[in-house]
């Protein structure tokens, strides 16, 4: 049973359709990647889940119940374009955001202290936001998102603007929140981070879902039956079993073979092992980046035809 269930959501604006029948099931306690090129409809979908805008058709179900306005207290949302009131004090600001999400003042203050401590921002509590560096402001925004410990977290490009050290700290925090049971919807262009932390993904393009599933499944579906073989010998092609591919630009020493139709990897490896000195072999799975580009491009060509 999915924690967040989006069913056939449609949103139209004057002149264009932002979402045309999008469905998505986010299981409880997982990190779910929402991917797609610019203008695919990710932000619109996120705003609908946050009830900032209303869908024209379709339903959003949270924990088995149709979402109402009161459910926004169960969500923490970090938008891609995010800011803070520059003139407010850091502590007051975090407490304000927590109370807007329905916390009592005492709870919000206690939680604020806990998080500021965790991010080493304790001595900044009474400073104005405008005195903070950009990286520190990003941390304050993150704290403002999670202060009320929501069961559902939505991060839109959370790592943009973070340096590698802070990005790593953020990643650790996000994983920790998942381990504590939060469900996390994660929208990004950064495919490397998707491979690192997402279990499942949905790829939107032109207002529609074009790809969905667990990261491993998706990779298996898109694999090209390519094997990278490490050997000091020169491998001759065998057209019945495999063709030779030009070497990988990064790993030049690998010999890359593409299996012919119907040939399984085991047979090819044992065939090679009998003739050459193999030091290692790996099945080459496509990166999420390749899958993303391939899927988006092929769909665009389809649409143009």
């Amino acid at each position: 049973m999915a924690y967040l269930d989006i069913n056939n959501v449609v949103k139209r604006y004057e002149g264009h359709t932002a979402l045309s029948g999008v469905s998505m099931e986010v299981p409880e306690g997982c990190i779910y990647g929402l991917l797609g090129p610019n203008g695919a409809g990710k932000s619109t979908l996120i705003r609908i889940i946050n009830r900032i805008i209303a869908a024209d058709e379709g339903t959003v179900t949270l924990n088995g119940k149709k979402m109402t306005d009161n459910d926004i207290t169960h969500i923490g949302y970090l938008p891609e374009e995010r800011g803070l009131y520059k003139k407010m004090k850091v502590g007051d600001h975090i407490v304000y955001l927590g109370r807007l999400k329905g916390m009592t003042k005492a709870d919000a203050v206690a939680s604020m202290h806990w998080w500021l401590d965790r991010f080493d921002l304790k001595e900044w509590e009474n400073r104005k936001v405008e005195n903070l560096s950009k990286g520190m402001q990003q941390k304050v925004q993150f704290i403002g998102t999670v202060i009320h410990r929501p069961p559902l977290l939505i991060f839109d490009e959370p790592f943009s603007g973070f340096d590698p050290v802070n990005a790593e700290q953020l990643k650790v925090e996000i994983l920790a929140l998942r381990d504590q049971g939060s469900t996390i919807l994660f929208s990004t262009h950064n495919m490397a981070s998707v491979e690192e932390i997402c279990q499942q993904i949905t790829l939107l393009n032109h207002a529609q879902v074009v790809l969905t599933g667990s990261v491993d499944e998706v990779k298996q579906q898109h694999k090209k039956n390519i094997i990278a073989v490490q050997t000091p010998d020169t491998v001759e092609p065998n057209p019945e079993m495999f063709t030779l591919l030009p070497p990988d630009p990064v790993r030049k020493s690998d010999t890359r073979i593409k299996l012919a139709q119907g040939v399984n990897a085991r047979d090819a490896i044992s065939w090679l092992n009998e003739r050459y000195h193999l030091t290692g072999f790996t099945e080459v799975l496509p990166s999420m980046n390749e899958i993303f580009i391939e899927t988006v491009k092929s769909k665009n060509t389809e649409n143009n035809e």
């Binding site: 900032i52 207290t73 995010r82 304000y96 955001l97 807007l100």
Partner: protein, 437 residues
């Protein structure tokens, strides 16, 4: 409701908690006094700065030159008429040491004409000094020439200075002294206060909305509350800060009034009524004017004026500030607001001039219609109020204004919730219209 309160509190504190607000609120009255006293100060400096002017007086009659009083500005020097045949030559020969020549002709008694000659401009102060001095002197000379004993005293007794007291018949048959001047002045001041505060808060709200949009806090906030709450929280929060400011000024005014009043009370005790007829001719007159001012000022019925002022202020504030908030939501940066701002500004400025125009004729058709039409009602009705507007007109104007203000708030909220989330593309009036649907 809880969230709305939170937002109001944040907006309010973000203004009232600022050091600049506290400083400005306390300094503003002094600033106004300073600005008000600049003309007086300048006049004083003029008096001080001018050099003493030498004025030659050629008195052909030989009787009136002495009547011209020397003061710190003018020094009148009588010159024997026979020795000077040509005034122009005399002036030229002085090489600028004399600034003007006055010729009192022989037939001044019959013609009443005196000439002042100069190459420079003749300043009004010289003209009036000469005129006042010679008029009185020649008048007394005429009276004396008639040979009737004590004529001067008889004339002085006959001399009257008509003082108009406007008396208002109240419904109970009492007579109240009322001054249209004081009532009008009060109306214009209150109208100005409404205009100024609505304008000031409106632009502040608009800039706040633009700022929230440009620093992208808005999406975080509206993921926790309805856009309507954010908009209303802002409007109400700013409104309360304005009322706070007004309250502080009223308290300051009260303190100043008490101090001023006690000071006046001390000096006012000196010329008691039985002393009035005696020597001091000026003080009782001033005192009498002040007393009549106070009597008339106290005769105005303030309760309905204050209640209506607060109502019109709140209603007009809501009406215009909702418009300003929605305009702020439609743009990405403050400099883009001008295209939307122009029509609103024209409307506001019209309402201001309509109010000033209605001061001339507070019972005319223009005053009537402008005090009923919601967009001009707050400023215009405040000017009309001291003149006993029929109660049905006041009620009608309030009802229409409240309905319009609520409708505008509703429409503004629709524009606002779309506007705050739309970036990049510059919105047009057509877009605003689309967002309404």
């Amino acid at each position: 409701m809880n969230k709305l309160r939170l937002i109001i509190a944040r907006e309010y504190m973000s203004i009232v908690g600022r050091k600049s607000f506290i400083i400005l609120t306390l300094l503003f009255p002094f600033l106004m006094i300073a600005i008000g006293s600049i003309p007086i100060l300048m006049a004083y400096m003029n008096d001080k700065g001018d050099q003493m002017q030498q004025i030659a007086v050629i008195d052909e009659t030989g009787r009136y030159a002495a009547a011209l009083p020397n003061d710190n500005k003018f020094n009148f020097v009588a010159i024997n008429g026979d020795t000077v045949t040509n005034a122009r030559d005399f002036y030229d020969k002085s090489k600028g040491s004399i600034s003007a020549v006055i010729i009192i002709p022989r037939d001044v008694d019959s013609t009443g004409v005196v000439n002042i000659y100069s190459e420079g401009t003749i300043i009004p102060a010289l003209e009036s000094t000469v005129k006042n001095a010679l008029t009185d002197t020649i008048e007394s000379a005429h009276l004396a020439a008639m040979g009737i004993p004590n004529l001067q005293q008889i004339v002085d007794k006959a001399h009257v200075n008509i003082d108009i007291h406007a008396i208002k018949w109240s419904d109970t048959g009492d007579e109240e002294e009322a001054s249209t001047d004081i009532a009008l002045f009060l109306g214009i001041i209150l109208s100005l206060i409404i205009f100024w505060f609505v304008f000031f808060s409106g632009t502040m709200i608009m800039n706040n909305v633009v700022e929230e949009k440009t620093n992208r806090i808005v999406e975080v906030v509206v993921s926790s509350c309805r856009p309507f709450h954010l908009m209303m929280g802002k409007i109400i929060g700013v409104g309360l800060s304005v009322l706070t400011q007004m309250a502080i000024w009223i308290v300051l005014l009260g303190i100043a009034g008490t101090i001023g009043g006690s000071l006046l009370g001390v000096s006012g005790a000196v010329p008691s009524p039985d002393m009035m007829g005696a020597g001091a001719a000026v003080t009782p007159e001033v005192e009498g004017e002040f007393a009549s001012f106070m009597r008339q000022a106290l005769a105005i019925n303030y309760t309905p004026i204050i209640i209506n002022f607060l109502l019109y202020f709140i209603e007009g504030y809501l009406l215009y500030c909702a418009i300003f908030a929605s305009l702020g939501s439609a743009v990405d940066q403050a400099s883009d607001t001008s295209q939307f701002l122009t029509p609103v500004m024209l409307l506001m400025i019209f309402s201001f001039y309509a109010a000033m125009g209605c001061a001339e004729n507070p019972d005319g058709p223009m005053a009537f219609w402008c005090s009923i039409i919601p967009f001009t009602a707050p400023t215009v009705m405040m000017v009309r109020l001291p003149f006993d507007v029929p109660i049905w007109q006041i009620i009608l104007s309030h009802v229409l204004l409240i309905i319009t203000a609520l409708a505008i708030v509703w429409l503004a909220a629709r524009i606002y919730r779309r506007g705050i989330l739309s970036y990049g593309k510059k919105a047009s009036f057509k877009d605003l219209f689309n967002w309404l649907r």
